[in-house]
């Protein structure tokens, strides 16, 4: 029975830990399907975390914090678009610039405004998102299997966790079943053909980046106003890059990207459980090496030992309209 509850808590934390990755991967799909590389998921997630925490601290409502985070992230996406779509600057350089700018700016402003090195004030219960207990979660807990499944795994998450998994079919529907999605994919595969068909390539890419900004804001808000009750320095800890790797591993497809995100989340949940545990035959693995497991897994997955990834054809290339 203890084994079962161990499994349940592992699945529970997998779902929670994968949440920001799922949002970031979905955001990445929009940008990259339209032909714009987006390594700046990392920076945008960090900025969203900062803005959401500061916003809900001052406004007293986490939803307003989230709204501010969305606005700021869309602005950052527009900046990326301005540099790499309008001015045809190097997309990777633009992303690296945004990431470094945000690492510095968030920490510097937190220190300037709140006087603590890269920390924002702790949010109280009204200023942050709380765990949602699904109806009847307590009354069905004692029913075997179903009780565990419903009360210990499905219930008791933050709102973002449910939104993240809900976003996957929505993104799938938008990208593969709507005319917007068709144009989005076409712009990423063959922009000159789309241009010939009378669709504005630049406008499509800006629209894709705007959606990308909205979605990534949820990942940041999840980190600073739900799982944690404040922002701290570099709290995104490479999740933007992990999500991008998951998206590439998932072949720019929402469903497979979700599986890759869950895999990352599971390894992360597992590494937390493994810390300080004596393993048979190996003994205790040093904690620093266990913490590196998700990063090593990323490298291994990206190396394509599990399958070859084919990127959208026009990715990374600025579109130059011929006259």
């Amino acid at each position: 029975m203890e084994f079962l509850s161990d499994i349940a808590s592992l699945i529970n934390s997998t779902l929670r830990i994968s949440t920001p990755l799922v949002f970031a991967a979905m955001a990445g799909i929009f940008a990259e399907r339209s032909g714009v590389i987006d390594f700046s998921l990392e920076g945008k997630m960090l900025m969203a975390a900062f803005v959401a925490a500061v916003g809900s601290y001052y406004l007293g409502n986490p939803w307003l914090g989230l709204l501010l985070a969305i606005i700021v992230c869309v602005c950052l996406s527009m900046l990326h678009g301005f540099a790499s779509v309008t001015h045809k600057g190097d997309q990777v350089v633009s992303c690296v610039a945004i990431n470094i700018l945000i690492i510095g700016l968030t920490t510097a402003l937190a220190a300037a405004w709140f006087g603590q090195a890269g920390l924002t004030p702790t949010l109280n219960e009204e200023q942050r998102f709380l765990e949602i207990n699904l109806p009847f979660a307590d009354s069905v807990r004692d029913i075997p299997i179903i009780g565990t499944l419903y009360s210990d795994i499905l219930s008791g998450h933050y709102v973002f966790v449910y939104l993240a998994y809900l976003s996957v079919p929505i993104v799938f529907w938008i990208v593969f079943k709507t005319s917007f999605g068709l144009r989005l994919r076409a712009v990423g595969e063959n922009p000159s053909a789309v241009d010939t068909a009378g669709i504005n390539v630049f406008a499509m890419r800006y629209k894709a980046l705007a959606v990308n900004g909205v979605v990534i804001a949820f990942a940041g808000a999840h980190l600073s106003t739900a799982v944690n009750a404040n922002f701290f320095r570099e709290m995104s800890a490479g999740r933007g890059y992990l999500a991008l790797a998951a998206m590439i591993f998932g072949k720019w497809h929402p469903k497979t990207a979700l599986i890759a995100c869950l895999l990352f989340g599971f390894t992360d949940a597992l590494q937390i459980r493994l810390q300080g545990v004596e393993l048979p035959a190996i003994g205790e693995i040093p904690v620093q090496l266990i913490q590196a497991i998700p990063y090593i897994l990323t490298v291994v997955l990206l190396a394509g030992f599990v399958g070859k990834a084919i990127a959208p054809n026009a990715i990374g290339q600025p579109y130059i309209k011929e006259r």
Binding site: T86, Q91, A97, I98, G104, Y241, L244, A292, V299
Partner: protein
């Protein structure tokens, strides 16, 4: 906006290589001033403090040159890989592992006479840094995994690995903090205060040391390698047009590996400055962001040693002057200068074409009007 057509052959070299970068830099610094204002401080006072801190007294100037040394290494590291169209943003991890290399060689061979142990330690730093860059390079060329993600992951992995080593394997067991024992004093690189003593100038302490000359030598090394050798030519060919390079019989795989290994090795040399020159032991997290700053240095210096030297010096000024600012202005932390780096990368890298057409056409019109008149 982008409709301005400029005949590139008529644009003088100093317009595209000096005027345009300076305009971009000015824009970046103006926005930085705005951020300092938002943080609640006076940007003009901050500039005064930066200039005083980096030039105002000899010790401060020595610190400026010490930072310059680090930025030359990491700037060159990014630039070499960039000529092959590779974004090596793993300078941080390569420098960390390079520090391990220099320490292991120096501590185990400290019985050797002085210049030899130095040379071998420098080789150790270069080889360890190069080895850490080799794996992402191999994965990029053979498996197509994007070098930006793998090098970032290798930064995280290097950090975990080094903390593990510092805590469990090579820690100075007499100390609580995770760092190694000090290297024997006999093999420390001579510092600036030793030289200045000969010249009759007395300063208390400065981290500037002989590695500065190694950095200058590296500038020449990179210039020669990239522009004067067959390797450099092949590397640039692969970076410029991979298909054409393949057609000319140049192997992209070989050149990606060479470019990344030299890049990683140069980043590793940062360990020489920090460990053989300054702290004489490995401390947790000693690369302290220098690897990332190298990106800004290289992009500002247009990936050429002649540009990287002044860019590294400028960042030396920003770092040393910046520490003066953080000391005097409570609202500014050193992270403000990380944001400034981001802005410089943005304006001199991603947005480098923001005003280029306007500026170039302005000068072309001016110059040719004079000729025609």
């Amino acid at each position: 906006m982008s409709n301005i057509v400029v005949d590139k052959s008529k644009v003088p070299w100093w317009v595209s290589n000096v005027i345009v970068p300076l305009v971009n830099l000015t824009l970046a610094l103006l926005v930085s001033g705005l951020f300092i204002f938002i943080a609640g401080e006076n940007p003009i006072e901050a500039v005064k403090l930066i200039i005083f801190g980096s030039f105002g007294y000899i010790q401060g100037f020595a610190y400026t040159l010490y930072y310059t040394t680090n930025f030359i290494f990491t700037g060159l590291a990014f630039a070499v890989a960039f000529h092959c169209r590779l974004f090596n943003i793993g300078g941080e991890g390569q420098a960390y592992i390079g520090g391990l290399g220099v320490f292991l060689v120096a501590i185990n061979l400290s019985f050797l006479p002085i210049p030899i142990v130095w040379l071998l330690s420098i080789c150790g730093a270069f080889l360890f840094g190069a080895a850490w860059a080799y794996i992402p390079a191999y994965l990029q060329s053979k498996r197509g995994s994007h070098v930006v993600i793998t090098t970032i992951m290798f930064n995280f992995i290097a950090s975990s690995l080094m903390i593990f080593l510092l805590v469990d394997v090579i820690r100075d067991t007499n100390q609580m903090a995770p760092h190694t024992v000090k290297l024997p004093e006999a093999i420390w690189l001579p510092s600036f205060e030793a030289f200045s003593g000969i010249l009759g100038i007395k300063i208390r302490y400065s981290p500037l040391n002989l590695t500065f000359l190694l950095a200058i030598a590296s500038l020449f090394f990179v210039w020669f390698l990239v522009w004067k050798t067959k390797w450099g030519y092949e590397m640039r060919a692969v970076g410029h047009n991979t298909q054409a390079a393949i057609y000319a019989g140049i192997s992209p795989h070989k050149n990606i590996i060479i470019a990344m290994c030299i890049s990683g090795g140069l980043a590793g040399l940062l360990g020489v400055n920090e460990i053989l020159g300054v702290s004489h032991k490995i401390q947790a997290g000693f690369p302290a962001g220098y690897g990332f700053t190298g990106i800004a240095v290289a992009l500002m210096g247009r990936n050429h040693p002649i540009g990287i030297l002044p860019a590294a010096f400028l960042f030396g000024i920003l770092y040393q002057g910046g520490s003066e600012v953080t000391f005097e202005m409570p609202n500014i932390t050193r992270y403000m200068f990380v944001a400034v780096q981001g802005l410089i990368i943005l304006f001199s890298g991603a947005l480098e074409n923001l005003f280029r057409p306007q500026i170039e056409s302005f000068f072309v019109r001016r110059l040719y009007k004079e000729v025609n008149a």
